[in-house]
Every structure is written in C-alpha cells, then in structure tokens.
Amino acid sequence: MSASRTEATERPLWKTLALWTLPTLLFLMTASLLLTVQSLRDVADSAYDRSLRGAIRAIDLRVSTESGGLGVELPYPLFESFQATADGEILFRVSTDDGLVQIGEPLLPPPPPLKPEEFVFYDATYFDRPIRVGAYMRPLDPPLYGASGGQNLVIEIAETTESRDAFLHTVMTRTMLRDLTALIAAMVLLSLGVHAGLRPLRSLRDRLDRRASDDLRQLDPTGLPREVQPLVTSVNRLVDRHRAQGEAQRRFIEDASHQLKTPLAVLRAQIDRARQLDDTGQIQDVLAAMREIVDRSAHLTSQLLSLAHARNAAMWIDGAPDRVDAHALLDSVVRLHVGPARQRRILLEVEVSPEMRPLHVPEALLFEAVSNLLGNAINASPRGATIVLTACRGRHETLIEVRDAGPGLSDALLRQLASGQRFNLAGGRRAGTDSTGLGLTIVQEIMKSLGGRAVLSNRPEGGLSAVLHLPDRQERLKAD
C-alpha cells in the first residue's frame, strides 16, 4: 500500500487552497487599492491644478508694469478667498526669469524648465511639507528696463497638500481594512467548508486505521464526496486483486507441494522394495521405474520454478520495458528448439507480417512464453510435421501464434483454460498432460503479467493454435 507515501506529503486541503487563492487575492487587493489611490490622487490633483491655474491667472492680472517696473498687487486677499475652499496654506512667488525681481516665497524649489504660456504642475517639498505647485511663464512685452533679450515673467503658486495626503491615507486605510476583513472572512468560510466536506473522509480513515492488517474487505463509499468515489473504487479493485492473488498463491502452494511430495513418496517406496529384492533383474526393473519418476519430477520441478519465476517477474515489471523485435524473438526461440525438432524431422517456420511494430514488453518473459508453446508443439507433433510461428498486427494489439499438427487439446482442458481458470495441478497426473498443462499455466501467467492473454483452440484441419494477444502499450496503460 502506498500509505507511507501519502503521509510524507500530507498537507491540509485548506492550506493548499489557501496557498492557491491567497497570493492571488492579495495581489488583486493590492492592485485595486493602488489603482484606487492613484485615481483619487489624479482627481485631487486635477482639482488642485484647476484652482492653482485660476490663482495664477488672477495674480497675472494683478501684475502691472505701467510704472516701468514690476509691481504685484498683494495677493493675500485673493488667497483668503482661496483659503476658504482649500485646506492648506497657499504660497506664491512672482519673479522674472533673469532673477532681478523676486517677490513672495524665495525658498520655493525652483520650477522645472518652463515653456512660455505653458502651465506646469508638479509635487515638491517646502520646509518638509509636501506641496503641489503650479508654474506659469509668460513673456514681458515690452521687457522691463529695455532689456535686450526676451524677458519672461514667472508666476508660481503652491498649496500644501497635507489635507489631500491625509484624505488619501484615510481612503487607503479604510479600503485595506475592508478588503482584509473580506479576505479573512472568505478564508474562514473556505476552511469551514472544506472541513465539513472532508468529514466523511476522516471517518473513513478512522475505519481503515482500525482494520486488522490482513482485512481485505472492500471500503464502503457511502457518504463520501463524489470526487473521492473513483478513488475508493480503484482502491477496492486493488484490494480485490490482492485478495484473489493471495488466494491463488495459497492454492498453488498446496497443489505444488502435493505434486512434488507424491513422487518422493513413490521413490521411497520403490527403494524400500528394491532393497527387499535379491534378483538383479527385478532390481533393475525397479530402478528403471524409479528413473522415470525422477525424470518426471525433475521436469515438474523445473516447470514449477518457471512458473514461480514468471509470477515473480510480473511483480517487478515497471516503467521502461524493452523494445522487442518480433522477428528476432521468434528466430531465437526457433533456434533454441531446432535440435529437438530436427531429431524428429519437424519443420519450423516463421512468418512475420511487414506491419509489425516493436513490442514494448520484457523480452525474457515473452521469450519463455513462446518457447513453452513451441516446446509443447514439438512434443505433440508427429514426425515430419510442420510447426508455424507467426507474428502479425491486430486491432491495437500484436498477435503471436504457434500452429502445430498434433492432436490438439481436450475440450475440457480448452474450456478450463479459456474460462481463465488456472490450471488445476491436482487434476490430470499423466505424464503428457502434466507438463503440457503446467507449461500452459506458465504461458497464461506470463501473458497476464504482460497485460495480454493466451487463446488456445483446436484447428479445424487438426492441431493446436495457440495465440498470444499482446495489447499495445497505451491500451495496457489504460487498462491499468
């Protein structure tokens, strides 16, 4: 079970949700806040600027050069009317751009470069106070004292913006608090919701924790959220598979131990019998019989080991299987069996269709399956017969067939194999059926582990057709 793995990355769901939503929400909040403040500031500025513009014009009107000099009517009365609508202090400066005349607050920061007849507005600081300044320059025509170059009049009016800043600060604070409260409320509701939604899962977890380690009953999915149902179904399927496998293994061990112990008992009996005998000839007979038993048992042992190996290998099949060339595989299997086949003058033939694709399966296992089938076919075929091995493509699968001209299999056995039943070792105990049956069981095991199946049938013209169906990799992955 993969319980240990999930525990390592365990994190409350609400934390995951929070991690996803919180940064985005915060970002959105901050962005909207900044936008609000910025637009408010722009609005405030434009209002300020409008009034500053008006004041500048008003002062402009009060500038008189009739005397030949530059005189400015004191703008304080004007400012007083201003002050009524404004919250800050109003400052002014009137000067000529050659610096000869300067009236007003001389310590105002110098304006940026001005173009004639142009109003410029900007923020600055005056004695540590923030101010908004409007500046305006116009040519003096005629210039004062007959100055040769162009002479310009510069009018600057500034208003302290503490009130504006305080206002903006208030807005910002209030908006932030409002958004923060909403955020916290949302988080709380979210976590409550998640908590409530997951309660059935928690009760399920408790139930599972209380189970005995070998309890393989199905999980009860009632009351669980819909999203989790598929998970529970998959877990139940896994549990079923494991249970079935456990049972099959138990059966196998029982059968195998019976199969192996019986010949040993027979041998024991034979030895005891031989020791009783005096006649060399009789002893030789017993010894011959013993040899037969030993041979059979050796073969059976070998096959049981193969079967165990096939089952074992199936468990370790993982991500990156080999790329098997079907033609090369069939060729190697044939070469392995050429000797015994030719001893009985049996012809072995290989046909591979041109549309064959590489197979993504562990080569050794497929090799063993085909080799087993071929071995059975050679044993079953009469002298001089032909055995054909073919590989071709089906619909989303590869088919490998071994056709022989032997007697085929009994209908009963065929039915048993077709129904997916494991070959029951306790059944037939005659020499041929045993090894054939066990070999076929091995083939079935292997095909199961490769995600395919073995289909056996008697051919109408006589002989057995054993077809291995290997689904393509994607199909196999889907089936998982």
């Binding site: 005397s67 610096g99 005349v101 607050e105 001389p106 004695f127 004062l144």
Partner: protein, 329 residues
C-alpha cells in the same frame, strides 16, 4: 522812460539774477523722483522727504513728482535708468544702503556701482523689527526662541529677497541667536509697504524693516509695534521706548543711508545743480524738523563725498555678502 523801464526791469530781474547766479543753471524740467518700490516703503519716504525739502527751501518751483517703479528693490529702476533713461536731467532715483548691498551682490543685472552718478544722501535710517501690536513676543529674544523651536512656523517678511538688506538683518540676527539662517522662512515683498500690509493681515509674523517706514505706518494708525532697532543706542523722541537689538543681546547695527542718483549720461551741469540743490535744502533750517518727523537722522553728503562713500560701502557689503555666501556673479 525806456531807461527807467530797463532799470526797473533790471531791478526786478536782480533778485532773480542773484538767485539764479547762485544756481548755475536752470532747474530741470519735470523733476521726478522715482521710488523703486511699492508705495509706503522707505523709498517712498525718501522721495517724499526730498519733495518736501526742496519745496520748502524754495529750490523747486513745481514740486517734485514721485513715481513708483517696483522690481528687485531698485534693480529694475537701476537698469531702466542706465539703459533707457540715462540722460534725463530731471529724474532722480531713490536709493538706500540696501540698494548698495544688492549692487555688491551683483543683483542689479550687469551694472555695478559705477554705472550711475551718485548725487546726494539726505538722511539715515536704522533697521528695525516690526511685529503686530498684538504679537505675543515682547522681545527679540522671544521671537528668536520661537524660530528656534519651530523654524517653519514663523514667517518673516522682508522688503526684498534673499540677500537684500532686510534679509540680511534677519540673517545676522539669526546668526547671533545661533540659528542656521538657511532654515528661516520668509516672504519677499517689494518694499516695506507691502510687508506692513501683510503683517497686518497676519500673513507674516514679523517684518524686517526700517524705522522710517515702520514708524510712519504706526503713526498712520497701523496696529504695529517695534520690537527692536538695529542702532548703536536708543533713538530720541518717541522711539526712545524701543530697545535696541544690542540691548537685547543681539549686537547688530544696521544703519541705512538714504539718497539719490541720476543717470550716467546726465550732464555735469545738471548733476552739479542737483548736488547744490540738496546741499541747500539740507542746510535749510526747517530740514531738521522734516527729518525728525520722519524718524530719520541727518546724513548730509553730496557729490564727491557721497560718491566715495558709496564706493567704500559697496566694498564693505561685498565682504559681508561673501560671509553669507551670497555673491552670485
């Protein structure tokens, strides 16, 4: 008969001839005194004093016209006279020590002290600190403390921008009080008149001005009071109530000479006429009273004497300006 007429005419003409023989040339037409500031300030008083003195002494038949040409505490007027009205014989322009200070800093444009012809000085004034009558400050020290505590809260007014004599008074006082003069906040006006108005409006808390124009305003009914006078010792008369800055622990004196100049192209004869005219006017018996009523002290200099006084004063001011890092050119 003709002989009798001619003798009569000669007899009649004699005093005129005597008179006119004492003044080498005829008086200029359209005599005008330019006060290079807004009305009500020191320059205004200077011109009006000249107006009164010349008329009382009988030197001018038609009274001296006073006109105003504000701008740069005399900078505009200086440049205008030098540039456009350099040879007008009837135009005199008021100046004060403050003008000389500005000249020393190069604030009168391209022109220096040699660009005009210095005619006469008619009196001297002293700098003063003026506050509203209901101001909480009773002494210069209190005012300085207030500035020390919160520099931005006390707005000083001055008849001139940074570097002007009014500003200099404040700077000197601040220096004496241990305040960095650069942290002072003040507003520049074109002359003491505007400053006094602002003071009354509450837009500034104190004005650095001259005794002459401040006292004139007070006499005129303005609710102001003098906090200190930058004189070596107390003045006489009603001004004796006002303590000097020195008394209050600020050893600063700021005498202000007031006088007149004419354009550089005015003829020698006209220049001499004006010099003589002032000499006579200041020698007249009623002159002292005129001075007193304007709270001024005598300082009669004309012609060469004034010229050299001006030149040396400008030199002194140059040094002072350097101390305060004020020189621009």
């Amino acid at each position: 008969m003709i002989r009798i007429d001619m003798m009569r005419a000669a007899a009649l003409a004699a005093p005129a001839m005597i008179l006119s023989s004492t003044i080498a040339f005829a008086q200029p037409e359209n005599p005008e005194c330019i006060a290079p500031a807004q009305p009500g300030g020191g320059f205004d008083i200077t011109c009006k004093l000249a107006q009164a003195a010349l008329t009382e002494a009988g030197i001018l038949e038609s009274p001296l016209r006073v006109s105003y040409m504000p701008g740069g505490i005399g900078a505009v007027a200086y440049s205008t006279v030098v540039g456009q009205r350099s040879d007008e014989p009837g135009t005199i322009v008021a100046f004060s020590s403050g003008s000389l200070l500005n000249l020393a800093q190069g604030k009168f444009g391209d022109h220096d002290e040699n660009a005009v012809r210095w005619v006469a000085s008619i009196g001297t004034d002293y700098g003063a600190v003026v506050v509203p009558a209901d101001s909480p400050w009773e002494s210069l020290g209190q005012m300085m403390d207030a500035i020390k505590a919160d520099p931005g809260s006390v707005i000083l007014g001055a008849g001139g921008t940074i570097g002007s004599q009014d500003w200099m008074k404040a700077a000197l006082t601040a220096r004496a009080a241990g305040i960095d003069h650069k942290t002072m906040r003040f507003v520049a006006f074109e002359g003491g008149g505007d400053c006094a108005t602002a003071l009354q409006g509450g837009h500034v808390q104190a004005c650095m001005q001259d005794v002459g124009d401040s006292q004139a305003a007070i006499d005129g009914g303005a609710p102001l009071k003098l906090l200190a006078i930058f004189a070596p010792e107390r003045l006489s008369g009603k001004l004796a109530e006002v303590p000097t800055a020195k008394e209050q622990g600020f050893d600063i004196q700021w005498p202000i000479v007031r006088g007149f100049y004419v354009g550089p192209d005015v003829s020698d004869e006209d220049y001499a006429w004006w010099a003589e005219a002032f000499q006579k006017a200041m020698a007249a018996p009623g002159y002292a009273a005129l001075l007193e009523s304007r709270n001024l002290l005598p300082m009669p200099m004309t012609g060469e004497e004034l010229d050299s006084f001006v030149k040396s004063a400008v030199e002194d001011y140059r040094t002072l300006a350097a101390e305060f890092q004020l020189v621009q050119q």
